[in-house]
């Protein structure tokens, strides 16, 4: 069956956009083919800096014919209706119509056959639309045509479109169309410098091979493999090891059509710089890999660059040029580093007075002051030294004002810790600077050192309370201040470290601090930034995040609602969820849940019927059956035992106690008719059922558990 080859040849496409663009091209073309009734066998898309390419094979040569029936007027209908029907269906007379019998009468039916079109014609129609509506993150106009309305937008100027279609065994046809003056053809071009001449291509097979001969590796995966293999080899040959970097590899493979890895040196002297600075300099600015000693893990004064050509001098000039640039960059970095070392972290803090954290919340200095205060409150709870926690909170953001972090923002925290060590700070204080940003996501490391935990919590709780105070909460996909991540961070810090605290109390207390801080800011800015709301409710936000977290871990997130009931100690909520989850997996648990649900359902119905509740203790004198008495007795015992266990936070014991309820509950429903004819007995039995609910509620609200 025929195949399609499509290539869009342009000026250099940004590396970061290539993979998605290839994927979009494949998806858009194949979706459209399927929508047109052209079911294909397979498709693959590729990107290089200068081209997007797509091959789709196993496309039928023609669309299937479409047969549709159209119902017309009744036999004997007015002439106008008949003429309208004939016109709409293209029939010349009613003789060509079928007649269909129907309880409502006999109707004319027209059979309309729409013959399928040749696939190549369909392609000629859909491809230009896809090109014109291609979802580039940013696109542009160019050249003389850009002066006219409706000119094409593409990521960078588009120069040629190759589009062929045909079976493997025959010479394919060009899919003829034009977009903004670019006519489709079979001509593409090789490597910009090594083989710039035009190439005639027929279909994917010879296309890929001819490009390779013209020094273009079409498949990004092949380019990545080549870079990685060569770079490792270069490092290995010198007795070293490549510092692998997936993100850099991805980017670099999008900057070259013909990757050539080369190794260069820098001066040994630069190794006095922290390794992170060297790596950031070489990686971010120069897009080169660093190399390390396999045993010690320390960097060695080498780097690996990936050029786009096989230079006629073997790459000597290219290596020398890159070495010059890297030397200059490292000199700058060294200058920044040495400049930074001349000023202590705390001596930078005054500058935060002039730096706004958020226009309605206030300055960075005010935020730091709040963090210090909160860290001091948290320190005894998490087992940290109060003074150390305050010190670490005070210095946590200071490195944002250093030259190195100004140059390499991704080193925030890392440099703070480094400079803190160098200026002789306590080890826990120094570590807390880097760690207070953590955990940065669901898989990131969770700090365990108490000082780090205190500052990490203070940082996140302050940001949450501050944004809640000005009513800037995340909505839908919008979470510009990463508040969801902050809440998740708090959850993980508390749970992983087994920290108990009353979240509501802490939030309320800190909210007072935030309100005062915002009020001061409002005053100094001469504006009102705060509406003066009395209270904020963050607990629901936390429990929602907790559910998401539990769901991602494959735990029973639906149990959270059953155990929350006014709880604001996240650790206890999680412990209860764990115990409850285990209990519900046992037979006792399953049956008790069923029994309690049955009790709740009956109560719900009867409460509705009688328009009243059945609160209050049942009257023991009204028990007539043994099962009633047994259940009442069991409820009494279990409630006491479970409450005692919950008080000791022994949730497993609470669950075991609950399990004892199962036999009497089962027996009760087996033998006892709740809706007795005697209204008093009925009321008493309903009260007994209500007792089951209230006795179990100390452990969990079983009615909120989904089956």
């Amino acid at each position: 069956m025929p195949e399609l080859l499509l290539e869009l040849f342009s000026e250099e496409i940004p590396a970061r956009m290539q993979a998605k663009a290839a994927d979009d091209l494949r998806r858009m073309v194949t979706d459209k083919l399927v929508a047109e009734g052209l079911v294909y066998e397979g498709a693959k898309a590729f990107a290089t800096p200068r081209r997007l390419a797509l091959t789709v094979h196993g496309i039928p040569a023609r669309q299937p014919d479409l047969k549709t029936e159209r119902r017309g007027p009744k036999i004997g209908a007015a002439d106008a209706a008949v003429q309208g029907f004939l016109k709409a269906t293209g029939l010349t007379s009613l003789d060509e119509a079928k007649i269909q019998r129907d309880p409502k009468g006999d109707f004319y039916i027209a059979l309309i056959e729409k013959p399928g079109r040749d696939a190549i014609d369909v392609l000629a129609e859909i491809l230009p639309v896809i090109i014109r509506t291609f979802p580039w993150p940013k696109s542009m106009r160019w050249g003389a045509r850009s002066g006219k309305p409706g000119s094409l937008s593409w990521v960078r100027p588009l120069h040629a479109i190759t589009a062929t279609f045909g079976p493997e065994t025959e010479e394919p046809d060009v899919v003829k169309f034009s977009v903004d003056g670019i006519e489709t053809g079979q001509t593409t071009y090789g490597h910009r410098f090594m083989a710039p001449a035009a190439i005639q291509v027929r279909r994917f097979e010879d296309y890929e091979a001819k490009l390779f001969a013209a020094k273009v590796v079409l498949d990004p995966e092949r380019r990545k493999d080549a870079i990685l293999t060569d770079a490792k080899q270069l490092a290995f040959a010198q007795g070293f090891e490549l510092f692998e970097d997936v993100g850099l590899l991805e980017e670099v493979s999008g900057l070259v059509e013909w990757p050539v890895a080369l190794m260069g040196d820098f001066e040994l002297d630069f190794l006095t710089l922290p390794g992170e600075i060297i790596r950031s300099t070489i990686r971010n600015n120069q897009k080169c890999f660093v190399v390390r000693n396999a045993e010690t893990g320390f960097l060695v004064p080498k780097f690996i660059l990936v050029a786009n050509i096989e230079a006629t001098d073997g790459g000597r000039t290219i290596v020398a040029g890159n070495e010059r640039v890297i030397r200059a960059r490292l000199s700058d970095a060294k200058f920044f580093y040495e400049t930074d070392r001349k000023t202590k972290l705390e001596d930078r803090l005054f500058k935060f007075e002039d730096i706004l954290f958020h226009e309605r919340i206030g300055t960075q200095a005010a935020r730091i002051a709040r963090m210090e205060k909160l860290a001091a409150v948290l320190a005894p709870i998490v087992g940290a030294d109060v003074e150390k926690a305050k010190r670490a909170a005070k210095l946590a953001k200071a490195d944002l004002l250093t030259e190195v972090v100004g140059e390499f923002p991704e080193l925030q925290g890392t440099m703070g810790t480094h400079y803190a060590h160098k200026q002789g700070e306590d080890g826990e204080v120094a570590f807390a600077i880097e760690q207070h940003y953590q955990p940065k996501g669901p898989d990131d490391f969770v700090p365990q050192l108490p000082v780090s935990v205190a500052v990490a919590l203070a940082d996140k709780i302050d940001i949450l309370v501050s944004f809640w105070a000005i009513d800037e909460k995340p909505t839908g996909s919008k979470d510009p201040y990463a508040l969801r991540r902050a809440a998740l961070g708090v959850i993980r810090l508390l749970i992983d470290n087994g920290i108990r605290l009353s979240l509501v109390e802490l939030i309320d207390q800190h909210y007072d601090t935030v309100v005062r801080s915002i009020a001061e800011h409002s005053k100094s800015a001469g504006k009102t930034f705060w509406g003066g709301k009395g209270k904020i409710d963050l607990l629901d936000f936390f429990t929602d995040r907790l559910k998401v977290q539990l769901r991602e871990q494959g735990a029973r997130h639906d149990l959270v609602d059953a155990v929350v009931g006014g709880q604001d100690d996240l650790l206890m909520i999680v412990r209860r969820v764990e115990a409850l989850g285990k209990f519900l997996e046992s037979d006792d648990g399953k049956n008790l849940l069923a029994g309690i649900k049955r009790a709740s359902n009956i109560l719900g119905i009867e409460e509705k019927k009688d328009k009243r509740t059945f609160e209050g203790a049942p009257d023991a004198a009204l028990y007539s059956l043994g099962e009633e008495k047994a259940l009442a007795k069991a409820i009494g015992e279990v409630a006491a035992e479970a409450s005692a266990a919950v008080a000791k936070e022994d949730f497993a014991a609470a669950m075991s106690a609950m399990a004892k309820l199962r036999p009497p509950v089962d027996a009760f429903f087996d033998k006892v008719r709740v809706n007795d004819d005697d209204a008093k007995v009925r009321e008493n039995r309903l009260k007994l059922l209500n007792e089951i609910r209230s006795a179990t509620r100390a452990v969990a609200d079983f009615s909120k558990i989904q089956d």
Partner: protein
Amino acid sequence: MDASLPAHMRPERSFQGFILALQRFWAEQGCVILQPYDMEMGAGTFHPATTLRALGPKPWNAAYVQPSRRPKDGRYGENPNRMQHYYQFQVIMKPSPPNLQELYLKSLAAIGIDSAVHDIRFVEDDWESPTLGAWGLGWECWCDGMEVSQFTYFQQVAGVECAPVAGELTYGLERLAMYVQGVDRVYDLNFNGRDGDARVTYGDVFLQAEREYSKHNFEIADTAMLFEQFKMAEAACKKYLAAGWREGNRKEHLLALPAYDQCIKASHVFNLLDARGVISVTERQSYIFRVRELAKACGEAWVHTEAGGAA
């Protein structure tokens, strides 16, 4: 490269020869070779030959050297490649020709950068000038890992959509010349291509100025005067813009260029105030906004001039 050139004129030996080679190359592509604009500005893009001429339907091809002043980048002559005054070489072609990349690569060959031994790359760079209300897409052009030029397809300038689009090339002349001459310190560049006593270096020409202007920009510049100058330039710009409309209707403008001069002035004064550290973070945004508003109004005026393509 032109082999017939005498040694002291060759781009790899002489800074001035380097500039001349670029000028000659672009002259041959049909560009008018302009001289620098006679005002202080932060980049070649501010030259009205780019900012204003990029607007409107009329074709325009020009190339020129523009001394660029970035008061904050001064390092008292002590940094090997950072200066508060340097040269940009600017090319503007409207509409952007289909072979602009090839022309650019040929221009590199003309100054001695051979693409058979150098690794030349086009690396994504989305260009935006908040003070000019301008943006475009293009690349940083890399040679052996060094950024040597910026290549931009202007999409909008002075708040006006470019129709047609102009292509802009900006070469960092000192940096490129240092690479071609093989020197690590800008002040060691050979300026005139001569040897021995006849040799004049970049440092001979500019080092004294770098020291003096760094001191001026960071320590001495009269901030009270500068604040006043900013206000005056802003007011003058607005005044000329208002007075420029012929017969008061908004159809034809007669003073776009003088008004734009005041916008350039305001922008440079702002850069000086910024270097003096007397503008706070929040104020900074508002100054940038004020300059942008001037630039946009000038762009609007320009497209209503005869040269700007008004009907």
